[in-house]
Symmetry: T
Subunit: 146 residues, 12 copies
């Protein structure tokens, strides 16, 4: 049974509170519930974690190697600034799926480049929290040979 | 019943032929069949069209207003160069979902910016042809009030 | 009697429909009627054509040589991206007058440069559809020796 | 009766003297006479002033508020360098029409950006001194409700 | 008794009139009264002057040497464009405190760099007219040995 | 009684030790004492916290919502690199006042842009530790209706 | 017998008419006759086509796969702007030889980059119409094993 | 007898006072005396003027046409920012010699480009006040046929 | 006896696991053993620490002042993004030696600039783990008067 | 009988040794033999020289004036860096034909600009050593009146 | 026995004379003696050469192939400007170790990029002349299988 | 008696031959005669040398230390590309005067920056060969205490 790590980065603990016109009204709990429901549908297992600390996210990614089969990550604003997260993801050699709740490409210039994308198989932006479900389906499919 | 226009731009008629290590082995016919199947599942109707000509795509987008409820578009390389397509999409005032089969953010620098993204609600990259299915689901959900 | 070709590029067939707060409520028919009326006033003859296809516009510009005495052109979004149109206009060796309905210099960064301007005698932006009338007057005056 | 302030900036007092192949042979007096004639035709009143001093132009723009209904301005080379003029024009809350005698977009790179354009309703370049007449007509039309 | 020159540059004579949502409703008179009041509180003397002319501001700055002990300056839009003002301020060898009523760093890109800042001890942005009071206090403190 | 959170970011625990020619000799304790004294003067309450960890600062900012009425922040070097802090500050919807002890605009190029400034009402640079006092006064005034 | 597709893009139908000081006096017919003559000399077969429409060129390139052994292309101004043509050429997996009649590297800045060059084996600029003959020879040699 | 206008721009009235390690200890009076002495040696006549106001400098340059045979100018910091001065100098059609007392190319990046240089025959930087003498000799020689 | 702090930043705990073709097969334990062995050879004492958290690294650097005589640091990906680490290192006033296991200058563009280098005496890239030994020798020599 | 100087720059003495997948297996001797053979065919005379020293190449180019009728040059890596070679070529006033064995436009960014191209009539890239033959034919044709 | 070529580029013959605060007091003779001593320690043989001429350095590098097993090079200022040296080094297919006596990354912007680094296995900056010893050790280790 | 080395770089041996509209008709012999004549007038001794080879110029500059009191240099195109020459000039610690015969600031963009200027006391451009005379006078004056 495929095992997928779902990581949420800075400020995603405040989902639903943060500007709902951009991020919708779903909370982090809603995201995690959706991930679990979708995982069940595709016969996979998910573990969901969130942190505002780059170092903690790196630690979790390091532990993922050998323990999970894929990583779904919404690194929030760290996507635009953290080469260290890119390196951590790359060294797992796991398939990475990147999610953003809003369409980052229609926002400020500095949100249009993501270091995470260099390591990602797929990038889903602007699907709201459904992006996580599509990400898990994409991961599951990749693990089943594409 | 929601009606969705699925547009494919230049070179997508050659899907399956074009570098399969990047674009997979699915053909345009496979894409269109998947779109129809997904549409049926979400209770929507799709019409699929492909052209290598920017002007033809603009004409079709103009006709979409009043005839369709949403547009799913993979504008291929025109995504990076055509402001005219962006303008055409914007004036329909319809929700736009952008799809790319490969993860354009992990390729050449000149593929990392898409004018279409300025008008899009959501952008799905690198999910292979499944990106179209997720795009149709996203469109359907938007049309059902999000 | 001076003969002037009036060319409208992509999305201008949707004038009046497209964001009226920027482009006003006049339609392409209104533009063409104004051009004819103005031409009559300055003792000139106009032919008006519109296309969403770059190749078609180039074909028409090629035919203009020897058939018309000046070209008034609103190349829409192609202004910002088409070097091929610039080349076509240049090789006619006719006086070129460029029109934009909105003030493109007060909009997005990517609308501030026009390749057409390299070949144009005059550029009129933001006068609404009256810009076409001023363009025809400018062309007529140039043809009458300035 | 609409009242329009026509401002000319640096070096425009030398019109007719300055490179006639670019600027034509009309003098500043010719420009002002044309403005008055055009104003009469559209039932408006104009006052014309010229200065080579940025501070003087700002003072005149400040006085325009409450005294004039629109400003037609050819700020010459200050167009490319003066944010202070942009600020002065903006705070009048009057409609601004920008004129350039030559087509600044076909000249040196540093003449292609105008701060004045950020505040302008319309921009007319390269129509020679007729640009002033079109500017006054555009201003009059705007004041009459477009 | 310390003597401080307070200089206001272009458009600041229109304070209270200019976009109150950005600049507040205080007038230049209010600014000058606040400066005098604050100066009295810190045992200093202020002279307040405003001009829209760069040359005049330079002249006043030149006269400041030997006559004043510090300069508080809001150079308005000249901050972004005038190297000559920077040079004038530098050659006084007096402490310079820069004030902006609005937070220029949250506005257009071209307002984010100030030449004055190269010569300033302190920069206060976005405190409204209170910024002048803080500037005078900062100057007074510097003159009293920090 | 207004309640203000005062946050100090990386390396500010070493104030007084770090290059005194730039940062002065005041310690973090001095800063915090000044904040408390100033708060008392304006009838407000302050809580002061410092961390070298971005994640910890984000956590504290999240907790600020509903608990404090304003945030005064010197994010140190994170100002120039942390979009995550900007996002955290923005989602509090509290007024933000940014402080820098030195004039960052007269130092290295990479210190001249602050992401924090995008969210800040006011920015105070180079006033030494007095900047904190002015920041608290500015916050208090904003909370009292400006 | 090797079969080579010779494609000419926008404005090349006007060869001989277009600025002869840059492009020479040879017409498109002369180019095509030269191509046929050269092909005969190297024992190859050529088919020559010209279009001003990007979409038509892409269609022809798609059809080339399996029908021709190499493509010689002068994409004119599309060279500088069309990523879609680059993609079409790449997916044929045929050897591509790029020709420009003038030396594009000694002209305007925007003519110095060609997307076609990314896919080309060889690029010949400024040899006049003889460039086509050299291109056919180069293609023939490549097909004969270099 | 050749007649030469010597213009000094902003802050040059403070020569000798301004940072002597960069500008030397000579005053503006010394500069003007040296100009007169040198002019006498080469059989020319000079008139020397200085202003801190860009508009005044432009007025003087306008008057130079027909009255002087050449202009020697040290436009100070206006060199780097004033296109209006460049235009004024250009329209005189007189030979222009540019002087800077310090070597501007070994100072801040923003002092390395001079608009005046576009119109100048010769540029002398870093020769101290002797640069004026060399400039007058250069002008005289040019007027005597080189 | 000289005391040297050896700091390793993010992802260096995974040395040997991370892409061995770039980083070699040595582990962090190997690095630390080599540091100790080298230190012994040069008569110094080392303490080795590793963290994936920027804040933790800053804390350790702060503590280094007064406790160690030099710092050898491989800040990993933080080298390219952390101004806060640069500031922390600078305020220790200790000699800093920077190490990178791979040659960062032959990799992606975004790895070619290191903020750490601004504060470093020496930078060693691409010597594999031997770089640490050379760094300790360099530090020891500097401490012995160079 | 036309006389052509064929110059090869740095590293071309190592042709055949240097990365054969890019440069082919032909040696410099092969190149020179091909040049002589081609020259004979077009009734011209060639002299071939190679140097790794920029100064030597400049000396040879200086001597070419009056001695040769055209120059064919492959300046190797000096093409991208040597303005001095450009100047030397320009002052000969001879027709210059530039050759590169590989397609420099499909390689690293820093190989895409050639100073030599500013002075060249034609540029041939990626034709392997045949490029020299085409260059000699092009030169011969130019010398025979095009 | 491994044989290593040690190359020093422009101005390194003046080591010890050139700014000792940056480059130390060691002479080129000291460098060469250190290289020989280190080589002996690691059982290798070195030949040391220095030239101020790029062409001479290229010639020596060409001769290195087949004669030496590795190259240690301090190309001085040529590191920043010579693509020809990069090409010469690359075609030897030998391991290259780059040395700089000072930390070039803490100096002027134009010293921060080295073309040599593209071909180098390792880069040592700022270790003073000891950098050569470390470079030879690194080369020896690489030749012994890493 | 002061001794001055006058160095001329690439292509200056062709003075008088090279584009006389830019460089005048004086030859290198004329330049050297003028230098000698001027030196005599100011009581100095000059030695004049020219080379097209960067390495040779560096060698001569190295020898200048201790043998000459100042260097006058026209490095031609090497001015724009040679950091090695800048380093050689700097390490002489002699006063450097830079000369260019034409006004390089009114030519191509790539001629506007000179590395030599970083080390020069004075820069004289566009005075024709008289620039050398002024340079020698400037050098002599500097050597006599300014």
């Amino acid at each position: 049974m495929a095992s997928i790590l779902v990581l949420n980065g800075p400020n995603l603990d405040k989902l639903g509170v943060r500007d709902p016109s951009i991020y919708g009204t779903g909370s982090l709990q809603d995201v995690e519930a959706l991930c679990e429901k979708t995982a069940k549908e595709v016969g996979a297992h998910v573990v969901c974690r969130q942190s505002n600390a780059e170092g903690t996210l790196i630690d979790w990614i390091h532990e993922a190697r050998g323990k999970y089969d894929a990583i779904v990550i919404n690194a929030g604003a760290f996507s635009h600034t953290s080469i260290a997260l890119l390196d951590a993801l790359t060294l797992t050699q796991l398939p990475i799926i990147e999610v953003h709740i809003s369409n980052i490409h229609a926002r400020e210039e500095f949100r249009r480049h993501s270091y995470i994308s260099h390591a990602a198989k797929a990038v889903l932006c602007g699907c709201g929290i459904d992006g996580y479900a599509y990400a898990i389906r994409t991961a599951a499919k990749l693990l089943n040979g594409g």
